[in-house]
Amino acid sequence: MFIRACGFDSHLGYLYLTVDTENTNENNNIETSQNETENVPYSTSVLVLGICSIVTCGCYGLPGLVCGIIALVQSKKGLMAYEENPSVYKEGSLKNLKAGKTCATIGVILSSIYFLIFLVYFITVGTLVFGALGSGLYGLQ
């Protein structure tokens, strides 16, 4: 409860006191909670893509890598938008965004390991095969 103004009104001839009750604060609280209706941008797509990033198989880990990297970029954008204006967004969608980011990080790490193993294998075998071919040709000459 706050006293906004008090004094003596000489024109009307009485003492006055203007009081702010707690009702105004309550109204403010209601307004802010009503504002928290928006989802954090990209929160759903980050969650879906982050979970899809574990589907690494079939194409040398590339689908998982692509999904995971898109999810990480979008989660960065979403977090930046949230930090600019935290009171506007729902708390649940922020949790979704953070869970999606964790999933995407795990997915990207595993996919990149898988892809690197494949790449190393490919280079080693390729070098051996072409090396053998080259020495064979050299032998023929």
Binding site: I54, T56, C57, G58, Y60, G92, K98, L110, Y121, F122
Partner: protein, 89 residues
């Protein structure tokens, strides 16, 4: 079925080998064969089921539940691959 490029090139199974056979035998209704082909399929289906349910109904702790299910799925895939490669099962 799509062929596995990793298996064609290297001759070894990839972490996802068995997935399509597993789904195919599940579609035929053979649960035991499906589980034998690819055990992590149970976790993957649970994960996607939870994801769809969570996106529709927005559970309070749905995000952390999904995160831990995801980590469990990842471990099951890795464990399955390691056991398969070391011929323990």
């Amino acid at each position: 079925m799509l062929p596995c490029g990793f298996k064609q090139l290297t001759g070894h199974d990839c972490p996802g080998c068995g997935f399509q056979r597993s789904v195919a035998s599940l579609a035929e209704g053979d649960l035991t064969t499906s589980f034998e082909f690819y055990p992590p399929l149970v976790f993957i289906f649970t994960l996607f089921f939870l994801l769809i349910i969570h996106l529709i109904f927005n559970f309070k702790n749905g995000a952390s539940l999904l995160k831990w299910t995801f980590i469990g799925t990842t471990f099951s895939i890795l464990l399955n691959y390691i056991l398969k490669m070391t011929n323990l099962i």
